[in-house]
Each structure stands twice: as structure tokens, then as C-alpha cells.
Symmetry: C2
Subunit: 348 residues, 2 copies
């Protein structure tokens, strides 16, 4: 009989409709490949060469204000630009291009160059949540913006080029591939069952318990049944809401607390500043109601066994489909059992 803790198997991701390959028996293979370099741990509270620190000059000559909490500005090298261009390419249905308009924003989480989310007080993380809500509202209200992607790349291994705590927003005219797939799946589920897909999924997970990492009054963090990254997690509200603008004041506090608790556990896993890419998925801002959408946040961390050994999504994964070695249940158990106090504060 299939034992998902031991035998190779495939798992289904109902949010996207994709499958992944799980190879639990492979967790023990030796690793002789590339080693990652963990982030330098000691940073000054202010770095005169950092383009995100308060008072410093950016690439375009602008001077950052002396901001006390968060600070948001247009990305000096944005991948999207607001000015739309007319026209499209379509040669035989095979060479197709369309103009895309949008805006890229940068959000500094704190003026402190030496902090990261897990080291910030919940009240300050709440400040970050407030900026996300405000940016989602402002950008989403624009007629030329149908999707607001809020995300954070943390750590050099995730392509982050500046350790100053910050995230990004890419807001654009069309809905990108991943949220588009999730929208289709969620809509089909809502039509069939009359409840949001993640409402029913969360109920199942709370019943089973074994993939839960953390819960508070309004939010739950779990390793999804279909996680592809070794320590991937999903952070979601208990209540079915379609976007962050519907969060109550109490829920925003709970959200900030859950963010802190999850990222503290991540740092405590290998006693390093834990790298990841994370971001919110929520209702497109195309003017429709989208009752099928259930707000959630994905965390995709690359590390596998230690501070220096990562999972590579390469040949088979690029050409076939994602593959993982350790099971989601194993990862959840690990993360759940870690202390809720950051290792830097716990020391001594």
C-alpha cells in the first residue's frame, strides 16, 4: 500500500491544477555540489553606501527622506512602465506579443539597515501590512492596473541585491500566469461547492493537524500538501476574504504576528537569516468582484538540509515538473517544533 512518507508518489495542487513528484526515500543521498554562502550577520544600523537607507542618494539622484517607519517609491529600474504603447504582434498565431503597462514600487520595511522582518517588533510589521493594504488600494484603483503583485525576495541566493529590509510591488495591466491559474481553479471550486477552495482546504488541514506550523486567532501557517520547495509554507486567513483591503484592524495585527512567528521559525531552522521569496495572492483589481478568491501568502525558501545546501529546481524540474525529497509533513513538524523566540534574542 502507498505510504506517502516513504514511497515515490505524485501530489496534486488544487490551487493551480499542477502535479509534483515526491521522493521521500531520496532525502538521504549525499551532497557534493554547490554550497551557498549564508548572509553576513553583522550589519550597521545605517550604511552610507545603501541606496535604501534614509538620507542617502539613489541611482536617479533622488534623496531618500528621513523616514521613521516604512518608505515606498517607484523602482528606479522597474520592469514595467506606465506609458502604454499601441499595437501588437501576431504572425500566424505563433509569434505573438502585446504591450504591457504597469508600475514597479519598492517598499522599505524599516529605516534600520540591520533588521529583517523576524527581528522587527510586531507593531512595526503591522506598519508593513498597512503599506501593503494602502498600495494595493491605490494601485488597484487605477484603470490601467488589473493585478497588484506584492512580494519580497530575501537573501542573495534569491536574487536580492541589497540586505536592507525591503519588498517590491509589480502592478500591471494583465493578470500574470500563476494568479490566473489559481483564479480558474478557485472559480471552478466555488461554483461546484459554494465555498472557497481554501476555506475547505483549511478545514481539512486543521482536522489533520500534521502540516500546521502556527496558528493564531485569525491566521494559520501550514506546509501545503502539494508544497514544492522543501520548507514552503502557505499563510492564510481563517475567514474567506478576497483581498487585504477586507482585513479588520484585529486581523491586520494577527497577520503581522503570524508573519513574525513564521519568519522567526525560518531563521531558527538553521540559525541564519533564512532566504525566501514570498508574496501575496489575492483578487485581481480588474473591477470584477471575484468571490472565488481567498487571500493567501506563499513562502518559497530554497534551502533543503542546512544553511549551505539548497534544493535545485533544474533539469527534470524545468523539463518535467517540480520534484521534492523530504515530505511536507516532515517539514511542518520541523518548523512547528522550533522555538518562537528569535535565536539572536534567545542567545545568552
Amino acid at each position: 500500500m502507498l505510504d506517502t512518507s516513504q514511497h515515490p508518489h505524485r501530489r496534486y495542487n488544487p490551487l493551480t491544477g499542477d502535479w509534483i513528484l515526491v521522493s521521500p526515500h531520496r532525502a538521504l543521498r549525499p551532497w557534493q555540489g554547490q554550497q551557498e554562502t549564508p548572509e553576513a550577520e553583522i550589519r550597521p544600523a545605517y550604511d552610507p553606501t545603501c541606496y535604501l537607507c534614509a538620507g542617502n542618494v539613489r541611482a536617479n539622484g533622488e534623496v531618500n527622506p528621513a523616514y521613521p517607519g516604512t518608505f515606498v517609491f517607484d523602482n528606479d529600474f522597474g520592469a514595467l512602465q506606465p506609458a502604454p504603447h499601441a499595437g501588437a504582434v501576431n504572425i500566424g498565431g505563433l509569434l505573438r506579443a502585446e504591450p504591457e503597462a504597469g508600475l514597479c514600487r519598492v517598499i522599505c520595511f524599516s529605516p534600520r539597515h540591520d533588521l529583517t522582518l523576524p527581528e522587527m517588533p510586531v507593531a512595526d510589521i503591522r506598519g508593513v501590512v498597512d503599506v501593503w493594504v494602502q498600495e494595493y488600494l491605490t494601485l488597484g484603483a487605477r484603470p490601467d492596473i488589473s493585478h497588484v503583485q506584492i512580494f519580497e525576495n530575501k537573501g542573495t541566493v534569491m536574487g536580492c541585491s541589497n540586505p536592507h529590509p525591503h519588498g517590491q510591488i509589480w502592478a500591471q495591466q494583465t493578470v500574470p500566469g500563476e494568479p490566473a491559474k489559481e483564479g480558474v481553479q478557485q472559480l471552478a471550486y466555488l461554483r461546484q461547492h459554494g465555498r472557497s477552495l481554501l476555506t475547505d482546504y483549511l478545514a481539512l488541514e486543521l482536522q489533520e493537524g500534521k502540516r500546521i506550523v502556527f496558528e493564531n486567532e485569525h491566521f494559520v501557517v501550514l506546509v501545503p500538501y502539494w508544497a514544492i520547495w522543501p520548507f514552503e509554507t502557505l499563510l492564510l486567513p481563517r475567514r474567506h476574504i478576497t483581498s487585504i483591503e477586507q482585513l479588520t484592524e484585529a486581523e491586520k495585527d494577527s497577520f503581522a504576528a503570524a508573519l513574525q512567528q513564521l519568519t522567526i521559525r525560518y531563521d531558527n531552522l538553521f540559525n541564519i537569516s533564512f532566504p525566501y521569496s514570498a508574496g501575496l495572492h489575492q483578487r485581481p483589481t480588474d473591477g470584477q468582484e471575484h468571490p472565488e478568491w481567498h487571500l493567501h501568502m506563499h513562502f518559497y525558501p530554497p534551502l533543503l538540509r542546512s544553511a549551505t545546501v539548497r534544493k535545485f529546481m533544474v533539469g527534470y524540474e524545468m523539463l518535467g515538473n517540480p520534484q521534492r525529497d523530504i515530505t511536507p509533513e516532515f517539514s511542518a513538524e520541523k518548523l512547528r517544533s522550533l522555538p518562537s523566540v528569535h535565536y539572536k534574542l534567545a542567545a545568552n
Copy 2:
């Protein structure tokens, strides 16, 4: 008017149905992030500690034979296992798992520890092509194998843990996600047009010329219109054949020559052993005819601007969709104009 060489735009991938974001104007942003370490260039022809060199002992105690050309064996830490397990999980359609059977094989391309494909004579690369054909046939003939994924991860940055020239095969019971998507798209195209999608696409590319990297009598290498990696290429036969078993002797020689020419140009781009993941996509071995399939090979190299600066597919790419900076046309022009002789042989 939309100028795809300058303005942000989306391009459509007719092989998968996905879109990607292209931001040509972003090519000039400064890079202050992680730097890659190129492979060490000097390696011995035989390494006593390498588990792929002839005569050496592998992890499971087996001794490699004194092979003169290629050498194939079952992966000692395969992600798939032949023994199938009965049963499946399905809880509310949301927690779903299925057993998966399969085999993982390793193919040494040469006994020489110090070579890579671009440094091998065409006759020896032809030997690799022959092994691919044979493995595809043998594995594909098994009733429990519906898909044979042949691929190579080259370079530590692509998760390759041993520089000895080798590739892998993951053969399995079901068709993985990427080829499944390509099958659906190719079938729809064949039904509508009566020709394979890649036949018509190749004709358009040969007409336009600007994305062609290399061509010989039977094969063409190009940077696809929808490429996501900076120097991604597609290698495809001019003739519509569904798998490598249909290649004629002359076509196999041409395939080997095209592989050599492409990988030489890759190495010559930054004068290093150029990392990539590459693999064949072809007809599933599920017993159906699949006339919609058109054999091709994808090359996904991570490097962007230099031997040390790579493209990161992170936050936006993981949560939204892939994004690229330089255009496919720019990359094709670069690769096309490089010398056809390997830099190591050209020197002096």
C-alpha cells in the same frame, strides 16, 4: 507603436500556452547582488575520487567498467523506483496523492573526466545521441513507462554535483506537467492546421532569420520568440518527426554536429564552461501514436551578463510569471556571431 526591442511587453509561448514578461529597457540596471563562481577549468583526465570515472567504486559498492565511450547505469539515488505501490489518497479532492513508478538512469558521455560536450569530437557526441535513442527505445517499450525524460544539468549553478560529463534519464509512469502542456498545445494546432506546430514555427523563424543561431542540413538552433532564460535556445529537426527513434543515420550525425556547435558557442560567449539544463521533449511512450509531437531539445542556461551574473527567477517570476530583460533577438545575434571553434582550442 509597440517596439519589442525597447518597450515592456508580453510574449506568448504557443508550445505551452504561457505568457512571459519582456523588459528590454531594464538590461542596463546595475548589479550589486550575488556573483557566481565559474567552474574550475583545469581537471585531470581521470579523477580517482570521481564516482563516474572508469574503474572507480560507486556509493553502492559497484565498480564502473573500463568503458571506452558512453556508460549507462541506474542512479544510485534515483527519485523514482520501479516497484509500484497500490492505493491513492483523495480527501475531498483537495488532498490527492498517487503512487508513481519509474527509473532513473545516469549516462556518462565520455570516460574523460576533463571534457564536456563542446570539447568532444562530433563522432563521440554521436555516441551520446545513439545511447539516448537506445535508452528511449528500451525504457519506452516497458508497459509501466509512459514518458522518458532525457536531460543534462551542467555546472554547479545548475545543481550538478560532479563535473564528469554526464546526463540523466528519469522515465516514469505518467507524463509530467511540461510535456503534457506541450502535447495539448501541439494537438490543438495539428487538428486546426494539419501540420505540426513546430513545422510552421520553424518556417516563420527561417523566414525572419533574426532568432536563428545555427543551422545545418537537418537541424536548426534558435532563440525562441518566447524564451524566458537570457540565452535559452531550442534545437529542432527540420523534418517533423515525433521522437529520436525516427532519426536517420544522417540526421543523427547532424544532431551531434548541432549539439557541438551550440555548446561551443555557449562556451565562447563568456569564455567559460557555460552552465545550463537541457533536455529532449518528444512523444510520450504510452503506446499512442502522437502525430502532434515534434521532437525538440530545450537549453535553459542561467547566465545573464557575464560568467558571474545570472538571472534570478524569484519573487515576481515564482508568484506571477517569468520575466526577462534582454530580448531573444539580441541574444540570438550574440550567439550567432560567436566563433564556431572552442575558445580553448582557438587560443594561441
